[in-house]
């Protein structure tokens, strides 16, 4: 018997993780850790979270077999875990409901969050509306332009959206600004962190809230005939991927593949494939891999997908990579968009561009393994938010609209 890799508690995953933050935040992080440790074993909390998952999010999410798409994956059997069908349209709601419930337990009345594509911002604004919390969302200015529809959604839900114009004007700068807000307002405010990165307890806590993806999927696969040969998910910070992997971690025959955004290609330097092209460092409160220059300055990342456009990655992924339990593949913008097009045209399912990176990984792996293989792909979100961007990519907008 080897030791279970599931539900690793943090703060460290191997040599990665930890808590590298200003002292001013230490009390709040301790308080949050303490509240979470109590909540996770409190039937009142877990019961309420389960009720919300069922009656509000619409869980369990279904698994859909996609044979017409699979024909392009070397004939392998391909199944999608449909997180895109969740309320608000992505896996983000799983985490946000947990953290919003915790906010209430902490007696705090205000939540802040960062968002890249806007999915986490929309989910947070939704939970805040549901639970009567004040809500401020930080979003890089470039992302507010790429994802203007989601900005409007958040505002309709009652959140204040603050475009962040510093630095690269993307997710990473939104996180910096959210941390600054938190330092100043920590007494009233809880930071609802969107991905399985950041200082302890976020990587472990967000993973726990997203774990439902793999717990359900594993049972669903067993019912459908057995465990898959591989599980694939896209990785930016890595919350849907870690949630998709966790319950499979001890099934050593199941390959776990995280698909990173390679943008124009890792060799061009214009990418967001942190585990492929980065090295160890400290960013946003934890030790993990980051894209950085020789001095340690964070380098700008590039991806067509705002949700994956991040120069860091969650520390548990770095650990899983370092021990060889999970693989991380770079997927370019072009590969992801081809997968986006294929799934849409063959199955009538419009994926988020983020999730299309995982689909591209499935195309590659299926062609390698052939018809005997079964691949489970987490479709982390739906592509409604990406329609304009995709239409531009495929030059489908009427002439003169640009």
């Amino acid at each position: 018997m080897t030791e279970s890799l599931q539900e690793a508690p943090g703060p460290y995953f191997g040599e990665f993780g930890g808590r590298f933050v200003p002292e001013a935040l230490m009390a709040a992080l301790d308080e949050l850790t303490d509240a979470y440790d109590k909540a996770r074993i409190d039937p009142e909390f877990t019961g309420e979270l389960e009720r919300l998952a069922r009656d509000y999010t619409g869980r369990p999410s279904i698994v859909t077999e996609v044979p017409r798409f699979a024909a392009h994956c070397g004939g392998a059997r391909v199944l999608l875990k449909r997180e895109d069908l969740n309320h608000t349209g992505s896996h983000k709601i799983n985490n946000v409901l947990g953290q919003a419930l915790l906010t209430k337990r902490l007696g705090k009345s205000r939540v802040i969050a960062e968002t890249g594509a806007g999915q986490h911002g929309v989910a947070t604004a939704t939970a805040a509306a549901l639970m009567g919390l004040d809500c401020v969302i930080y979003m890089g200015e470039e992302d507010t332009e790429r994802q203007s529809l989601n900005v409007a959604r958040m505002r309709l839900l009652g959140a204040e959206v603050i475009p962040v114009a510093t630095g690269t004007r993307t997710l990473r700068d939104a996180i910096n600004e959210a941390f600054r807000d938190w330092v100043a307002n920590v007494e009233t405010t809880n930071y609802v962190f969107g991905t399985a990165a950041g200082p302890h307890p976020f990587p472990a806590m967000v993973r726990d809230f997203q774990r439902v993806i793999s717990v359900e999927a594993r049972a669903q696969m067993l019912e459908l005939g057995g465990l898959p040969d591989a599980v694939l998910a896209c990785v930016g910070g890595g919350s849907n991927a870690i949630g998709s992997f966790d319950a499979f971690l001890d099934d050593r025959d199941v390959r776990l593949i995280g698909c990173e955004a390679a943008g124009d290609g890792v060799e061009t330097g214009r990418h967001a494939a942190t585990l492929t092209g980065g090295r160890p460092g400290i960013l946003h409160g934890s030790m993990s891999y980051i894209l950085q220059d020789e001095d340690g300055q964070t380098q700008p990342s590039h991806s067509i997908s705002a949700g994956l456009d991040y120069p860091g990655v969650g520390p548990e992924h770095t650990w899983l990579s370092s021990i060889g339990r999970a693989e991380y593949w770079p997927v370019t913008d072009a590969e992801a968009m081809e997968a986006f097009r294929l799934l849409t045209r063959t199955e009538g399912i419009l994926p988020a561009i983020e999730s299309a990176h995982a689909l591209a990984g499935a195309i590659r792996l299926g062609r390698e393994l052939g018809p005997e293989a079964t691949l489970l792909v987490t479709l982390s979100g739906r592509g409604d938010k990406d329609v304009e961007q995709a239409a531009r990519w495929f030059e489908m907008l009427p002439e003169g609209d640009e």
Binding site: M26, A27, R180, I282, T298
Partner: protein, 262 residues
């Protein structure tokens, strides 16, 4: 004992608080920033905090963020910070470095400490590194005989206050307000509370930073702290145009402040 504690004690012997001035190296360019640090020394700073700019400065407000971004666009490197440290030492003040953790980690904790020591620097202030997060840094600094200056905040618990004061050498950096660097209209009561907490935890020297921008505030703080740390107000005075005379006047105002307490 270190060059830093000696200087703070000498100020105390004069019946005043020390003035600690912060500037980011490379703003508006490397040469001007080093000239500006000399101005800090000439106009009355006892200790100069040299800041290597960092791409993700989570504890800095808009003024210092802007300066750091501008410096990085200009191509400043961490090496430049050690050149600035040497210049400050030659000008006669005690140089310390204020650095975000990743810049130290990438250079190597030990190499960072030794390079600082070799340049004549006395210690490092670490805004995003607490003593419990970086035992490697603390031991590297001890070995190189470089002070480890950690921050405490109003939210710091009694237990963490003890831990932080025990691990701090040189001085304890107390932030009287919750928030990022920048100017505030009032810092008094909260500042006194944090200083009292640090002293109860055994801190011999406590300096106050974050929010101090006027001679009047400096005078008030000098009444109960060992040093007054000023950053944003100096960066603003220097400005994009690198106005050394405007900076000199601002430093003189604060230097008068620390001398007019009690």
């Amino acid at each position: 004992m270190s060059a830093l504690t000696d200087r703070l004690d000498a100020c105390r012997a004069e019946g005043r608080a020390a003035l600690v001035g912060y500037l980011p190296v490379g703003y508006p360019d490397v040469e001007t920033s080093i000239a500006a640090m000399r101005v800090l020394v000439e106009a009355g700073c006892d200790v100069v905090e040299v800041g290597p700019p960092y791409s993700d400065p989570v504890l800095d407000g808009p003024v210092i963020q802007h300066a750091a971004a501008r410096a990085l666009e200009g191509g400043v490197t961490v090496d430049d910070a050690f050149v600035a440290v040497r210049a400050v030492a030659e000008a006669g003040a005690v140089p310390v470095v204020m650095s975000y953790a990743n810049l130290m980690l990438q250079r190597g904790w030990s190499r960072f400490a030794h390079d600082l020591r070799d340049a004549g620097g006395a210690g490092v202030i670490t805004p995003d590194l607490t003593p419990d997060a970086a035992p490697e840094w603390v031991s590297a600094a001890r070995e190189a005989e470089v002070d480890t200056i950690f921050l405490v905040a109003p939210s710091t618990t009694r237990e963490r206050m003890q831990l932080t004061c025990d691990a701090s050498t040189g001085f304890v950096y107390a932030t009287p307000l919750m928030g990022v660097t920048g100017e505030r209209t009032s810092v008094g009561d909260a500042a006194q509370r944090v200083v009292r907490g640090a002293r109860e935890a055994g801190a011999e020297r406590v300096c106050i930073g974050v929010g101090v921008s006027t001679g009047e505030q400096a005078a008030e703080i000098a009444g109960f702290a060992d040093g007054v740390i000023v950053g944003t107000a100096f960066v603003r005075a220097l400005g994009d145009e690198g106005d050394l005379e405007r900076l000199r006047a601002k430093v003189a105002e604060l230097a008068d402040g620390v001398r007019s307490a009690r």
